[in-house]
């Protein structure tokens, strides 16, 4: 009950903060970053269900997102965008009949058809269903494979799905390589993505802490044991795959709506790669981690721009020096915390030395022209991301959150897995013959036996 109220309270606070962001000036950059975090967060959480909770490496997520994106785009495309010169590869049939507006009016649901938001919800749902259907089609044959083989097969399927819209026969539905433009930008409104993310968080945390979620994790931990304990492997794998594909489709639809256009390059393999980086950063198997990892990656990409600005060369030297010295200090700190001797590993003096030399160079040659000239490093954002990933893999391989999930119990207790003094005493009584005379007799028996 307490936890429930706290959750409600924090969601309310988050909504309030979002509200102030939307009404204040000059926050459009932050808002679009948040929108991206929410959309990619949904995709990352859904990929996490397969890769983290079920323990299967799937590389075809971009395919499901693409299906969702295209379905949403086609269903939502307003009448003026459907004119032949705009969508000249689209067949007349697709142009005239794949229209949610017409469907709803045909069913006599004019009230729904008049509201673009209601239409968007329905379109997203259909997009999810289409992706889920494809998930079953892809999953059923390929989930009999394991490990690397499965990864390759899912990657293959993902690429097939991605390239399919370009094929002339399919272009009648997808407008080919031109893509579809002019999709209503509902998801550009942050409340859409925020609510969608809340719903996804609710759904996936409920799923994770249900009997089905436990079965998924059992499969991840030990497939043979899970099967021996009565878990139907095929059913649960396909179930997880389908659910994951559904939400991938939804996030694809949201993204297409956010961009207001979709083509085959919108969802290329780097989408899956990006999501994989995000969930590995945050912690495979953790919903919180997936969201956290996405936030880190998106923020680095959006706000890492200053790294690629032109700067005088001394800034580069100075930051190099600071980084090296920081690494030196960090290693000493870690080793001290872990009580390793010596506190400073001899090899790590290299970091300190390089840092010191760079610092000296910066100060000594500060006035020199080559120190003042402007240099610019492109691709620093991606490098920063890579460095973060390397550091995480070295120092905390399981990701920031590991498999742990955010919960109020973790922060303010009570922690059920940590014994109270009472429990400790009882435990000692169970195993220590000095405290428990009954145990001693047994022990004597054993000695003679």
């Amino acid at each position: 009950m307490r936890d429930y109220l706290l959750t409600l309270l924090s969601v309310g606070l988050a909504a309030l903060a979002l509200y102030f962001l939307t009404v204040s000036e000059g926050t459009s950059g932050l808002l679009s970053a948040l929108t991206l975090i929410f959309i990619w967060g949904i995709a990352a959480i859904s990929l996490n269900l397969i890769n983290g909770q079920l323990g299967i490496l799937s590389l075809g997520h971009h395919g499901f997102m693409l299906i969702g994106g295209y379905v949403t785009a086609l269903l939502m495309l307003p009448a003026r965008e459907r004119r032949p010169f705009r969508t000249r590869l689209l067949s007349d049939w697709a142009r005239n009949h794949l229209d949610l507006d017409k469907w709803l009016r045909g069913l006599g649901l004019d009230a729904l058809a008049n509201s673009i938001d209601a239409k968007f919800i329905i379109a997203l749902f259909i997009a999810g269903l289409a992706a889920a259907l494809l998930g079953i089609i892809v999953g059923a044959p390929s989930l009999r494979l394991k490990g690397d083989y499965l990864a390759i097969v899912t990657f293959g399927f993902g690429e097939i799905i991605r390239l399919l819209p370009n094929a002339p026969e399919v272009a009648a539905f997808t407008n080919g390589p031109l893509g579809i433009k002019g999709i209503p930008g509902n998801a550009g409104n942050i409340w859409w993505t925020f609510l969608a993310l809340l719903l996804v968080l609710w759904f996936f945390s409920r799923l994770k802490f249900s009997s089905y979620g436990r079965a998924f994790e059992g499969i991840r931990e030990d497939e043979i044991a899970a099967e021996a304990m009565g878990v139907n492997l095929a059913y649960h794998k396909i179930l997880a795959f389908t659910i994951s594909a559904f939400f991938a489709g939804v996030s694809g639809g949201l993204y297409a709506s956010y961009l207001q256009s979709v083509d085959t390059q919108t969802f290329n393999f780097f989408v899956t790669f990006f999501l994989l980086v995000a969930i590995s950063l945050g912690g495979l198997g953790s919903i919180t981690g997936a969201l956290l990892g996405t936030a880190i990656v998106v923020l680095v990409r959006v706000y890492g721009g200053f790294l690629e600005q032109p700067n005088p060369a001394w800034v580069g030297y100075l930051s190099g020096a600071v980084l090296m010295l920081a690494a030196f200090a960090f290693s000493a700190y870690i080793r001290k915390a872990r009580r390793l001797r010596p506190v400073i590993e001899p090899k790590h003096f290299i970091f300190g030395a390089v840092g010191a030399v760079l610092l000296v160079i910066t100060i000594a040659f500060f006035k020199q022209p080559w120190m003042q000239q402007t240099v610019q490093f492109f691709g620093m954002r991606k490098m920063l991301l890579a460095v973060i990933l390397i550091l995480i893999m070295i120092y905390r391989r399981e990701g920031v959150m590991g498999r742990a999930e955010f919960s109020w119990k973790l922060i303010i207790g009570p922690r059920e897995d940590i014994p109270t003094d009472e429990q400790r005493k009882q435990d000692a009584w169970l195993s220590n013959p000095d405290l428990n005379p009954g145990l001693k007799e047994d022990g004597d028996d054993d000695a003679s036996a």
């Binding site: 759904f203 409920r206 799923l207 249900s210 009997s211 089905y212 436990r214 079965a215 994790e217 059992g218 931990e221 030990d222 043979i224 044991a225 899970a226 099967e227 021996a228 304990m229 009565g230 878990v231 139907n232 492997l233 179930l239 659910i243 498999r403 059920e416 897995d417 940590i418 014994p419 109270t420 429990q423 009882q426 435990d427 169970l430 195993s431 047994d442 022990g443 028996d445 054993d446 036996a449």
Partner: protein, 258 residues
């Protein structure tokens, strides 16, 4: 009617005849031990019963129903559960989760009901927790309090063994196949396990087939002992008769050169 009946089972891996013409009946409420030298086919026999392997020939009949050809999860649903020789627990999950997963196959609610937490699902979940605690109470209070929420990897070896046995029980099986339940345990823990296996039968009403190398454990609790050697059943009967059987002695110790 016997609970489990193997009729002339054959299984070969390539050219190796791992099990040939083994027949075995296990009656309800019995403790049957399968012993034999290394490589005799004991674990293969377990894998055949639980559906990991399919027999080349022969029938496996459980409660009057043919179960060969079923997958391991279907066999478990029929009522046969096993433990593994080298523990196969869900290492990163809590003890409680480990005991809840084997009850998953009895869940009637769909996944959507589970997400929505319908009243029926909540009731089933509570029932599952109750059964889990009941099974763990077989091993005394040591796994019941804070250890219930600890991940398995922090447990001691003996506690992991206990958890695995509780997990097998939680499947709701009638027949437990225990693959070396006392492997890696000290004499005191072995003794405790011996008592627990007996209590499985007496209090829990389970029928037990076990593979074991510790002869004092086998002698103490078995109603019947089956000896395998090179995939062939060479002896069956009372512990005392079996260990004095010349064929069994030969299988274990070899033949004396005359």
């Amino acid at each position: 009617m016997p609970l489990l009946e193997l009729r002339n089972i054959y299984k070969a891996f390539g050219g190796l005849q791992a099990i040939s013409n083994v027949s075995l009946t296990v009656n309800e409420g019995e403790i049957v031990s399968v012993i034999g030298p290394n490589g005799a086919g004991k674990s293969t026999l377990f894998n055949l019963i639980t559906g990991v392997y399919k027999p080349d020939r022969g029938d496996i009949i459980f409660q009057g129903e043919r179960i060969n050809g079923l997958t391991p999860d279907q066999v478990t649903k029929k009522g046969i559960a096993r433990t593994f020789q080298n523990l196969r627990l869900f290492t990163h999950l809590s003890v409680l989760d480990n005991i809840l997963i084997p009850q998953h196959h009895r869940l009637k609610s769909s996944w959507l009901a589970a997400v929505l937490r319908t009243p029926r699902y909540v009731r089933e979940e509570e029932e599952m927790k109750k059964i889990a605690l009941e099974k763990l109470s077989f091993f005394g209070p040591r796994l019941m309090s804070f250890r219930l929420h600890q991940p398995v990897y922090v447990l001691s070896y003996a506690n992991r063994r206990r958890t695995e046995m509780a997990r097998a029980m939680a499947t709701g099986a009638k027949l437990l196949l225990l693959d070396e339940p006392s492997a890696g345990m000290n004499p005191k823990e072995t003794k405790e396990i011996t008592q627990i296996i007996r209590r499985f039968r007496d209090e829990g009403g389970y029928t037990i087939v076990l593979v074991e190398h510790k002869m004092n454990l086998v002698g103490e609790i078995s109603d019947r002992v089956v000896v395998l050697d090179y995939g062939v059943k060479i002896a069956e009967g009372d512990y005392k008769d079996v260990v004095n059987d010349p064929q069994v002695i030969e299988a274990y110790l070899g033949r004396r050169e005359e």
